[in-house]
């Protein structure tokens, strides 16, 4: 696949994911649009339940029923992949989009050696003999930093530590050299002391292979050190998206400003994302207007009736009426310590 220069590798346009339930349809991902350039690392942050995992699952075509893509388009190197048949999409998964999940302890089949799982994956996507595939599997294990790979390849998952298993998982995701990796909280289940190593490994491998990454995490420190751009999600929508330095230093959306109040360092104490009062509404209770309005110190009259789309805000974009010429209208709350950037 030769990407045309300047063409994004992944483009998500107006993605909607919904769950039909007895009490009506829940909209879990609401009109999400973003793109990832070849080789770029896009960080995705947001509280638990913001819709990060569902966005990733929708991209690789593995939403679990009854969840379904209800609207929008997903393009990989210019080709629409959201309407492919199951078998066509199966060939995209693993070959062009790799995935890494949260829990390395449960991501590997306990009954097979890691070698068997690697070789099976390699041979699914690449025409290689068993011996060639085994050689490639050993190379991959070496590349992800597994010592004595020639011996370890014949070991079972339970013979590896958590960090080592996550390395095996990364090797599995890289089997067919995909152009994009979706890493959904790849270090959350790991020991704090190992998290930084795994993040560094993903960063190094993707730089060396030119692989783009959608890195989902709720560790802002990881994002700050790893990502090129960052998308902040709130209640199924993107609240703000922009270059990582810009979003971290000059948060535009009041929700992002709240988040940035607590950047934990990589490998350090895992800080809570929310310093903001209250909690994210459940899907059934999303208020009209801006979903953040019940918690927003800047909320105005307009925020409770009209929903903001992403608006240009400095070098970023933010879904907030503060960046609309007409503003938020009369303030609902007493102004508190106003983030300076918001006035810009």
């Amino acid at each position: 696949m030769n990407a045309i220069p300047n063409q994004p590798l992944l483009e998500v346009r107006n993605l909607r994911v919904e769950f039909p339930t007895r009490r009506g349809t829940l909209l879990a991902v609401d009109d999400v649009s973003f793109h990832i350039a070849p080789g770029e690392v896009l960080g995705v942050v947001g509280e638990s339940g913001a819709g990060k995992s569902l966005t990733g699952a929708a991209i690789i075509g593995l939403l679990e029923p009854p969840g379904r893509v209800a609207g929008g388009e997903i393009l990989l190197a210019g080709r629409r992949i959201d309407q492919l048949s199951y078998d066509e999409m199966r060939k995209v998964r693993g070959a062009q989009i790799g995935a890494i999940f949260q829990d390395p302890l449960t991501s590997l089949n306990p009954l097979y050696t890691v070698g068997r799982q690697l070789i099976e994956t390699i041979q699914t996507h690449v025409k290689l003999t068993a011996q060639q595939a085994r050689t490639r599997a050993i190379d991959l294990l070496k590349e992800v930093g597994i010592p004595a790979a020639e011996q370890r390849i014949d070991h079972y998952p339970h013979q590896f530590s958590g960090g080592m298993r996550q390395r095996v998982v990364i090797a599995l995701a890289l089997c067919a050299n995909p152009k994009l990796i979706i890493a959904d909280e790849p270090t959350t289940a790991l020991d704090v002391s190992i998290q930084a190593q795994i993040i560094a490994l993903i960063k190094r491998l993707c730089r060396e292979h030119g692989t783009a990454v959608m890195l989902v995490t709720h560790d802002m420190g990881v994002i700050a050190e790893t990502a090129d751009r960052v998308a902040v999600m709130y209640a199924g929508r993107i609240a703000e998206i922009g270059p990582v330095r810009e979003v971290v230093k000059n948060a535009r959306h009041p929700y992002t400003s709240g988040l940035m109040g607590s950047i934990p360092s990589v490998g350090g104490e895992q800080g809570k994302l929310t310093q903001i009062e209250g909690s994210m509404p459940r899907l059934t209770e999303i208020p009209p207007g801006c979903a953040f309005n019940p918690r927003c110190p800047e909320a105005g009259e307009r925020c409770v009736v009209e929903r903001p789309d992403l608006l240009p805000a400095g070098r970023s974009s933010a879904a907030c009426w503060l960046y609309d010429a007409a503003g938020v209208g009369r303030k609902l709350r007493q102004p508190q310590t106003v983030p300076e950037a918001v006035n810009g």
Binding site: L62, A99, S107, P110
Partner: protein, 327 residues
């Protein structure tokens, strides 16, 4: 691994000794064995002599030890009813029961696993619903009723299959087999279906629920995310992970099939060990009853041992972790 097998063998021996004790007690608690051996008019001193000869006056542990020693050598005495060595009586019935149980077990296993996998993979399919409904009937109908219904339909109404007996058999030394004659095979169908139906539904429901569970696990999701084919995921990854519980239950059910054959053999007048046991109970033929008990226990112990070995073959976590011998 070796230590584990030895430990299991040791446990098996303990179980066998316990069952042997129960079997042996039958002799002493159900009447005086001398009465079964001699006529009513035998004088007391002759009875006493016989009692001394047979060692019935020895202390209990010595008598039990002798029973065990004889039993290990396959010597369980004479049948009261037939005055023949018990092992010969039972041996002549063993092939009928083993063949019946084997066919029933194969039916239960093949269809049970097949239907279980299907209903687990495609829970919404119409066929899955049909399987589940039918299996509810299979679970709730008692075996003798299934047998009688089958006889009613296939032997009485349709008249296509025999309702009793084993048909013609072919002898191979001490073994008699119904597998090689058409009457033998036809006679096998109804009793084997009757005996296997309950286990079939049980295995199917177990495989189904295990399959549903495994399909939700992270490693199946990750296998999908790597683009593996459905065939590799369903049969390579999912099915193998359902095997451990399926092996356990199937092993236990195999023992149950042999034990439950008592009912089926009675319904179909099948000339096997189960029928022999019922006849022995009716005529208080203690040696035969005791031996049957020991033999069934032996089946269970051997099957359990095989199950444990299969675990080792399937699950590497047991193989490598010496500290966790059990499961």
């Amino acid at each position: 691994m070796l230590a584990f097998i030895i430990r299991r063998l040791f446990q098996g021996i303990i179980v066998m000794l316990a069952v042997g004790l129960v079997a042996f007690s039958l002799f002493n608690f159900v009447g005086d064995p001398i009465n079964s051996l001699v006529g009513i008019d035998t004088p007391l001193d002759e009875r006493e002599k016989l009692r001394e000869q047979l060692g019935l006056n020895d202390p209990f542990p010595i008598q039990f030890g002798r029973f065990v020693l004889n039993g290990v050598q396959g010597n369980f005495g004479l049948s009261y009813r037939m005055s023949e060595p018990v092992m010969r009586v039972i041996g002549s019935r063993l092939p009928a029961t083993v063949e019946l149980s084997l066919v029933a077990a194969i039916i239960a296993l093949v269809l049970g696993v097949g239907m279980g996998v299907f209903t687990g993979l495609y829970p919404r399919a119409a066929l899955s619903r049909i399987f589940l409904t039918v299996s509810l009937i299979g679970v709730s109908l008692p075996t003798f009723l299934t047998g009688i219904l089958l006889i009613l339909v296939f032997a009485v109404w349709l008249g296509v299959l025999p309702s009793f007996g084993r048909g013609d058999v072919v002898s191979f030394g001490a073994w008699t087999s119904g597998f090689f004659t058409s009457t033998g095979l036809r006679a096998l169908i109804l009793p084997a279906v009757t005996l296997g139906l309950f286990q079939l539904t049980l295995i199917m429901r177990l495989v189904r629920s295990e399959m549903l569970e495994v399909m939700r696990t992270d490693y199946i999701k990750f296998a999908r995310a790597r683009g593996l084919t459905d065939r590799a995921i369903n049969f390579g990854h999912a099915l193998k992970n359902t095997l451990v519980p399926v092996i356990t239950i199937t092993g236990l059910q195999l023992g149950a099939i042999i034990a439950f054959s008592i009912i089926t053999e009675t319904v179909f007048s099948w000339p096997g060990m189960g029928q022999l046991f019922i006849q022995s109970v009716q005529s208080v033929d203690i040696p035969v009853m005791a031996t049957y008990l020991v033999l069934i226990a032996l089946f269970f112990v051997v099957i359990n041992l095989c199950v444990d070995l299969l675990y080792y073959a399937v699950d590497p976590r047991l193989r490598f972790d010496g500290s966790k011998g059990g499961h």
